[in-house]
Amino acid sequence: MAKYLMKGNEAIGKAAIEAGCKYFFGYPITPQSEVPEYLSSELPKVGGVFVQAESEVAAINMVYGAAAAGARVLTSSSSPGIALKQEGIGYLTNASLPAVIVNMMRGGPGLGTIQPGQADYNMTVKGGSNGDYRNIVMAPASVQEAVDMMMEAFDLADYYRIPVMVMSDGLIGQMMEPVSFDYKPCKELPPKDWALTGMGEGKKHMVENLVMDADECEAWNHDHFKVYNAIEAAEQDWEDFMMEDAEYAFTSYGTSARIAKTAIGILREKGYKVGMIRPKKLWPFPIKAFELHDAKIKKYLDVEMSMGQMVGDVALACGDASKIEFYGRVGGNIPTVDEFVAFGEKVMGGDK
């Protein structure tokens, strides 16, 4: 298969097109601006539509419209822009509309910095909009994985009728890596017999958000949670890295996990039995990975480009918060391999 050298943001745009997405609504923001830039030139070539909306809020509501009409649709932004989209994400979720949302995270909070960050875990995984809801959240650690996850994201969104977030960081958006594109649907997808495509000879379709009756709204919540339970059972996804004989395990995702892999290589050379559980989806969180490994793990070393937003989920998954040590960098700073090695040696303290 032909390989190209592409920047993460461009590759994400191309992956969306390969997966059959023809509609993008968004607004530029560093470090994801190459996504709209790429799609503005490429979508018209495949008969698609690119709209630079007047704001992130407008863009997410255009996504709502396109999704309601049954289209595969994408928006992307970076941290503060995703914060602006939260209301629309909640609306999409409540209306059971499939859509894919890319977040190329940068340093925060607020306007923050333009350098990479991972501090939108809480907003994205726990939900930054109102009400009880979940979105599938995917966390690529390379440009190729971002491509593969984008394609899967469209299928999962359509299959479960749910917004899917692809949550990466600015570095993966800006980095050049070799990639190939090979879209094969990962699910047998049901027809979108609910979409607003014109009544014709058929029956009237409605995409609704406001529920007037409390019991009816409660029933909607329960219906959504049946879907969430099915997703938690079927869609947990993670990578075990050098876990076979591991007594210590890094927990990390995205760019931090990549740096951790190099650090683990060095720590292994020094004789430490250390590996990593790398969630590839952050929701559903890979609880099964911890069920599999927890009995032989003495400590978890959680490393992130945040102040420790994933630590809570690791604690719930392993059932013992005292087993977790944390190291992180924030504000747009990228941790170094040396920092992770030093952290590892401090936690493991010569226990080889």
């Binding site: 390989k3 190209y4 050298l5 592409m6 920047k7 191309k14 560093t30 470090p31 910095t113 333009i114 350098q115 600015g170 570095l171 800006q174 980095m175 050049m176 890596e177 070799p178 990549r258 740096i259 892999k261 190099t262 747009g332 990228i334 391999v337």
Partner: protein, 225 residues
């Protein structure tokens, strides 16, 4: 030899073609020839992976580094330093100008054009034919025309920098060579160098490769990338 190129070397190309990696390696080679060297990072297009990230190391080696007039390694500010014209005027400098990608990147040259003697200038276009937009001779020539229109000067040489980073093989150089040979035939512009990262490329460099061999070290990629 890098010392035989014109005194002012402007490095341009498609974004992501490897301009900055080439430019940083180029000034290091010039510096090793005991030349008085200046590099200007005039990249206002890209925000990560700019040559100014290597400023401290280059300055330590005695190279003059010119970048933004605004302090900060990764500011999203399209500002360039007034000092960029200094090595044009001071002819004791060997000058390398690292432009941002595409025709947008060439706009910065507006400041230098009125004071530059064109006979002193090489405009090198770095090409990676594994980048989708420059995968064919037509793609390369279309971009070359845009760059020349933006720079208001002709491209004087191509750099075959075809690669898949750590997955690069000798075949990549051959693929790039074939595309650029065809471009050369159509435009009359020579392939000046064929560049590759020495540690990555384990195979021998095929003899049919055009242009001077230009072995490089990784400067811009971190160890875990």
């Amino acid at each position: 030899m890098v010392v035989d190129d014109k005194r002012i070397r402007i490095i341009t190309g498609h974004y992501g073609s490897g301009k900055t990696e080439f430019a940083v390696n180029y000034v290091k080679k010039l510096n090793a020839e005991n030349k008085k060297v200046a590099i200007a990072d005039l990249d206002i297009v890209n925000l990560y992976f700019r040559s100014r990230e290597r400023s401290a190391e280059l300055r330590e080696a005695g190279i003059t580094v010119i970048s933004s007039s605004v302090e900060g390694d990764s500011l999203d500010v399209p500002a360039v330093s007034g000092a960029m014209s200094m090595p044009v005027r001071d002819k004791s400098f060997e000058y390398v100008v690292d432009l941002g990608g595409n025709d947008v990147g060439t706009l910065v040259l507006g400041r230098l054009k009125p004071i530059m003697d064109r006979n002193e200038v090489d405009l090198f276009m770095v090409v990676n034919t594994y980048r989708p937009d420059t995968a064919t001779p037509e793609g390369v020539i279309a971009l070359m025309k845009q760059l020349e229109a933006g720079a208001e000067m002709p491209v004087t040489g191509f750099i075959n920098n075809t690669n898949l980073i750590r997955e690069t093989t000798a075949n990549a150089l051959l693929d790039g060579n074939a595309v650029l040979e065809e471009v050369s035939r159509r435009t009359g512009v020579p392939i000046k160098y064929t560049s590759y990262v020495e540690d990555v490329l384990q195979e021998e460099i095929p003899i049919e490769i055009s242009g001077e061999r230009f072995p490089m070290q990784f400067n811009m990629r971190k160890e875990w990338m």
